[in-house]
């Protein structure tokens, strides 16, 4: 399976600031996703990061708050903008292998705490 890395692994940020999370994959993948896991909750998809086009956002998530870049087939970034304590979560990127029904693997995650 693809090896996925994320930076930073954790951060503590002040409200009103922004943080950019990087996701790097060791092979080219078509599908990359960004998920959020709030404390005590399950994973929720934020958006699908499409190479060469704008990300596709799920209901409840908007580009102004969570801008995403996907400059190539091995890299993506998620920015959490104008942060508030409610943004404190684990943010995970994932990639899909094996085509449309492929297995999906997750990066190590970024634990964000907003004070």
């Amino acid at each position: 399976s693809a090896v996925i890395s994320q930076k930073p692994s954790r951060d503590i940020c002040q409200r009103g600031t922004s943080l950019t999370i990087q996701c790097q994959v060791d092979s080219q993948v078509t599908m990359m996703f960004w998920y959020r896991q709030q404390p005590g909750q399950s994973l929720t998809l934020i958006a699908t990061a499409n190479q060469g086009s704008e990300a596709t956002y799920e209901s409840g998530f908007v580009i102004d708050k969570f801008p995403i870049s996907r400059p190539n087939l091995t890299f993506s970034t998620l920015t959490v903008s104008n942060m508030s304590p409610e943004d404190s979560s684990i943010y995970l990127c994932s990639v899909e292998e094996g085509g449309a029904r492929g297995e999906q693997y997750f990066g190590p995650g970024t634990r964000l705490t907003v004070t």
Binding site: S1, M31, F33, Q41, S42, L43, T44, L45, T48, E58, I90, L92, E96, A100, R101, E103, Q104, Y105, F106, G107, P108, G109, R111
Partner: protein, 111 residues
């Protein structure tokens, strides 16, 4: 409303016990069901199931899907303390590639 439900919410067993975790789903145009183990931050992929009745097995873990009754089970035999984790079930449906996750089952294995 599409949904994925896992049960039980939590479970405490002793080493050597066998556990069965459940995942039921109500989605349109089901495509696949995936199981993950989450110990700290990153969910670790366990199985992907697409066909009914075909058991997938890896060591002490096994899983099966019933597309008629819309559920899957994850079995862990001879549990060990290292099996303590949250187990997540996720379903892929319709034309997209996104996963919809259940709430997870928190398993604690005591020595």
């Amino acid at each position: 409303e599409d949904k994925v439900v896992q049960s039980p919410l939590s479970l405490v067993v002793h080493e050597g016990d066998t556990v069965t975790l459940n995942c039921s789903y109500e989605v349109t145009n089901f495509r696949s069901l995936l199981w993950y183990k989450q110990e700290k931050k990153a969910p670790t992929f366990l199985f992907m199931l697409t066909s009914s009745g075909i058991e997938k097995k890896s060591g002490r873990l096994s899983s099966i899907l019933d597309k008629k009754e819309l559920f899957s089970i994850l079995n862990i035999t001879a549990t060990q303390t290292g099996d303590s984790a949250v187990y997540l079930c996720a379903v892929r449906y319709n034309a997209g590639n996104m996963l919809t996750f259940g709430g997870g089952t928190r398993l604690m294995v005591k020595p």
